[in-house]
């Protein structure tokens, strides 16, 4: 069974169509990432899945439940890490976890939760005395308290230092290896790239792209960029010609001594260039090959829909 199934979901606030006909399926065990600018309908969609909002029309199934009326049984199986939500300030980390664990019939142990988010040294510190990053880690632990099958993580690492982010990613990878389904939203493209099995980009209430992080928006087929420094004593026209070769298209440009080549077949272009340079004993300094990053594709996709 799929973890999440959405068909033709619509939700308006007054005249504003916040969600305008979304279809989406998230497989069990998948790490699914939802990207989109603020106001694109991302939070509305997620909150409908979590059972916080009622939809106007369409069908939604989350773990086989309709979130609008799934009630206690539904909530037993999901964990929610909201963007902003408080924890009783007067409680220690341990007390907060003990309280929220008690709401579930098969919770994880408090010790295990504390270790998962690396708060062992702060277990008896009151929530009000925690740093922002520590509080966020407690947030994550609270979302996992009921050992949920499906975890919603809304911008889970905002405000983390780089080391804490890597640790959080590690925790999320750990959940994936336990077969949990993860529905993630983030503004960090490297996070989506590192964690997600599939990425959906939402803009103006609709999904504009849906694929793996490496393929989304045609990332795998769009042109690549080759850059290197023009070797000393070599002029641009002395480089091997890239035109007239079968299957190879290339735009070549030079700025100062930096040469830039745009091509859809970087493998062929490099073959020509490096055969030439190796046979002559010339070094191509500063050689790089890059394709559009996830961020490039994301910005392009969300720009188009404006």
């Amino acid at each position: 069974m799929d973890a999440i199934e959405i068909k033709d979901l619509v939700k308006s606030y007054g005249d504003l169509k916040a969600v305008n006909g979304i279809d989406l399926t998230v497989k069990a065990g998948e790490v699914f990432c939802f990207l989109g600018p603020n106001g694109a309908g991302k939070t509305t969609t997620v909150e409908i899945l979590e059972g916080y909002r009622k939809r106007d029309s369409g069908t939604v199934s989350v773990l086989g439940y309709d979130p609008e009326n799934g009630g206690r049984a539904f909530r037993e199986h999901i964990g929610i890490m909201l963007q902003e939500s408080g924890i009783q300030l007067q409680f220690s980390v341990r007390e907060a976890l003990d309280l929220y664990r008690s709401y579930y019939s098969n919770p994880r142990s408090t010790i295990e939760l504390i270790e998962m988010v690396e708060l062992s040294g702060s277990a008896d510190i009151r929530v009000e005395a925690l740093s922002g990053g520590q509080r966020r880690r407690l947030d994550l632990a609270l979302a996992l308290a009921g050992d949920p099958e499906l975890v919603f993580l809304d911008e889970p690492t905002t405000g983390f230092d780089p080391a804490a982010r890597r640790n959080a990613w590690h925790t999320i990878e750990g959940l994936r290896s336990l077969g949990k389904t993860i529905f993630l939203t983030t503004h960090y493209m490297d996070e989506a790239q590192a964690l997600a099995d599939r990425v959906a980009v939402i803009a103006a209430g609709q999904i504009v792209a849906l694929d793996t992080p490496d393929r989304i928006g045609g990332r795998d087929t769009t042109t690549s960029t080759i850059r290197f420094l023009l070797p000393p004593n070599i002029l641009l026209h002395e480089l091997p010609p890239l035109s007239g070769i079968e299957h190879l298209d290339a735009d070549i440009a030079i700025e100062g001594e930096s040469v830039t080549i745009h091509t859809s077949r970087p493998d062929l272009a490099l073959h020509v260039l490096t055969s030439w340079s190796v046979s002559r004993g010339i070094e191509l300094g500063g050689l790089t090959v890059s394709r559009a990053t996830l961020e490039d594709v994301y910005l392009e996709l969300t720009e188009e829909s404006k």
Binding site: A73, R75, L82, G86, I87, Q88, E95, G146
Partner: protein, 256 residues
């Protein structure tokens, strides 16, 4: 069911813990009423109130302070704690867990009952041993009914008020003001009989004056047992209905 009882106990204990770790709440809920009890009593030693048929001041003001302190443990605490928890997003977090919504309220009410019971014991003990208040066995049933109805009434009004408050910080005066004003016009600290008629009528329309009067009757030796004051109880029951309707209509789990 057994599990639900356990959850209810956990919720009640956690609400208690939050209160007892909050100095401001302790000050307003417990210390302030006791301070009124001590200072008002000390400054009116041996006074008899002509306007109330020569009633002993203690017999008048101890029930008044009892009503005042129960409004504080029920109404103020519930309204402010729910508003703060909504503002901080705690209510939204809880809504996302399997804890049934009614259980959340039951825990709050449970903790409120314990606080109220504590205040009843403290105020009555001070009234009985430091002042000359008589606890009459013959009016005990009326006293218990008055306490239950009054506390229920002010609890539900606290929950209703929490729905009206938009932001916890700005909410404190909105919550506290009506209750302070009512305390001064409802014959809690001094008799209201000297007030102009319209003010007495106004006070009587709200549930503090009936609460104080019904308690006073249970302690007043000149009132024959069983000392039930049906009119007062009906006014409070009416406010329970109003509070329930307002709560059901306006309660929110998330801040706007």
């Amino acid at each position: 069911m057994n599990n639900d009882m356990k959850l209810l106990a956990i919720q009640t204990a956690s609400e208690q813990k939050i209160l007892w770790r909050n100095r401001r709440a302790i000050l307003f809920t417990f210390i302030l009423p006791v301070a009124f009890l001590v200072f008002l009593g000390a400054s009116n030693r041996g006074v008899h109130l002509k306007i109330l048929g020569n009633m002993n001041f203690d017999t008048f003001f101890v029930p008044g302070i009892l009503a005042f302190s129960l409004v504080s443990t029920t109404y103020s605490n519930l309204a402010l704690s729910i508003a703060v928890q909504r503002d901080q997003g705690i209510l939204k977090r809880i809504k996302g867990t399997p804890l049934p919504p009614w259980m959340f309220f039951a825990g709050k009410v449970g903790a409120t009952l314990l606080n109220s019971l504590l205040m009843v014991v403290v105020v009555l003990a001070v009234g009985r041993f430091a002042y000359s208040v008589q606890i009459r066995m013959s009016t005990l049933p009326a006293l218990v009914v008055d306490l239950l109805v009054g506390s229920a009434c002010w609890s539900i009004l606290g929950i209703a008020m929490s729905a009206v408050v938009n932001r916890a910080e700005g909410g404190s005066p909105i919550v506290t003001l009506p209750y302070i004003v009512l305390s001064f016009i409802s014959g809690v600290f001094y008799p209201s009989q000297a007030e102009p008629g319209w003010l007495q009528d106004l006070a009587r329309a709200f549930p503090l004056e009936p609460f104080a009067r019904s308690l006073e009757a249970a302690f007043d030796p000149s009132v024959a047992a069983p000392a039930f004051r049906t009119g007062d109880l009906l006014i409070m029951l009416g406010w329970i209905a109003v509070g329930t309707i307002l709560s059901l209509r306006f309660f929110r789990w998330e801040r706007k």
